[in-house]
Symmetry: C2
Subunit: 252 residues, 2 copies
Amino acid sequence: MKNESVLTEEIQVKSSVINDTKKLVDSYPRVPITVDCVVFGFDENELKVLLIRSDLEIYKDKWSLLGDFADVAGEAEDLDAAAYRILKHRTGMDDVFLEQVKTFGHPNRHPGGRVITIAYCSLLNIKHHQLKVMDNELHWHSVQGLGDELAFDHKIIIDECYDWLKKRILEHPLGFNLLPEKFSLRELQNLYESILNVKMDRRNFRKKFFAMDFLIDTGELEGDVPHRPGKLYQFNFQKYNHSKKKWNGIDF
Amino acid sequence: MKNESVLTEEIQVKSSVINDTKKLVDSYPRVPITVDCVVFGFDENELKVLLIRSDLEIYKDKWSLLGDFADVAGEAEDLDAAAYRILKHRTGMDDVFLEQVKTFGHPNRHPGGRVITIAYCSLLNIKHHQLKVMDNELHWHSVQGLGDELAFDHKIIIDECYDWLKKRILEHPLGFNLLPEKFSLRELQNLYESILNVKMDRRNFRKKFFAMDFLIDTGELEGDVPHRPGKLYQFNFQKYNHSKKKWNGIDF
DNA sequence: CCAAAAGTGTTGCTCATACACCCATGT
DNA sequence: ACATGGGTGTATGAGCAACACTTTTGG
């Protein structure tokens, strides 16, 4: 067993090493970090993205993603935490899943100097989420036909996130969070067609989803439709969560 | 048409706006950025990852990814460029493709203070790439059974990059860059089995790749094998590049 | 009775899997 | 001759795509 003086010496060495490490880190150039949230929303059979008027005077006629600077000073904030904080601050929402998609760091992407931004992406049902904070003219903008009215490199960021979203929803049945608790197959199909921007065959769509066996027939019917009402289904989240591994698995 | 004084005024306004924007950006906390390159290499039918002894005294017994601080000071360096620079500096290689995978920013991931790192990933054939820079004990380490001998959060980063790689090679036939110009089907299959860490049926594997129709029969045979020599093939890069869209496309 | 969407089955194709035997070469 | 891996074919099942008619409801 080591005696005390050796232990003390080890601690002193370690402590000075850490100090050296800190000095080393401190000697490197630093840059501000922002997080941008690309919030896709589904409503009225259309896929939209949530934008605000830019904070910056230089972009006053442009739309911008929901972003802000991350608190990278102390040890306060993880990047994920920053994304959730910013989303909550900008919209009041705190029950939305965000996923990191990509980091954008072109030297000239921000007019105020070098700023690196980390893009997070999300998907929700517009009707289910009240926007409690209405600063900066929060606005749901159609994803199709998004032009050059965007500030910074936000058009590029949205495009990359949209590609990511399309791929993601084909691999995982994300869609069910976006619908009412009870929904018709027509609503489900509209959702997929809107997000993927394609038309699908109704019969094959039904078969595919019934085959997954994650739908529960509630026995209820739609109301208030001027035609034959469809059956209402619920998503079997429990069964889905239980079989999640298979969805991720590689069956080569 | 506007007269000169109006133009001058506009320029002044714009210039002061940019100054304000710069001041705004400058007022936010900053953090050093590193780039870490996860270089996977294939050789001797095994997937490996390139590691170095850590630069940091505190991690002197640990292995570390090929990383360094990014030059985020001026407008010098894009993130991609930083990744290529760092890879070249650490290994001498400048003919390797790198792709951004994910950004890691846990507050305590670096012992010297808050550092955010952006992970880039690559895949190459070990035999084809001489490591010209041999500082820091560059070492190809087997990916399977990678333990806790890694510095920082590099185990987590490697795991995420490995998952990314497996997914990627199933979607795109990346493998052909890793083989000699002329290769046997056995070599190709070994490659896939090593990367995905699975065993595959030889007959079905052949069928699958012949069906893609990207293989050119050179008419030549292997030499120096103590058994019946296999045919040698070349990859039809031209044909593949031409049909690339289909590989990315969504055929729902 | 008309409009509008719901609901339903079949067929053919492609693709993945599982599986066993003969062939060419070096030793 | 034998050991080693190369080369091949077939049968089965799953899943996808294409496609048309009847049913139910509201108006």
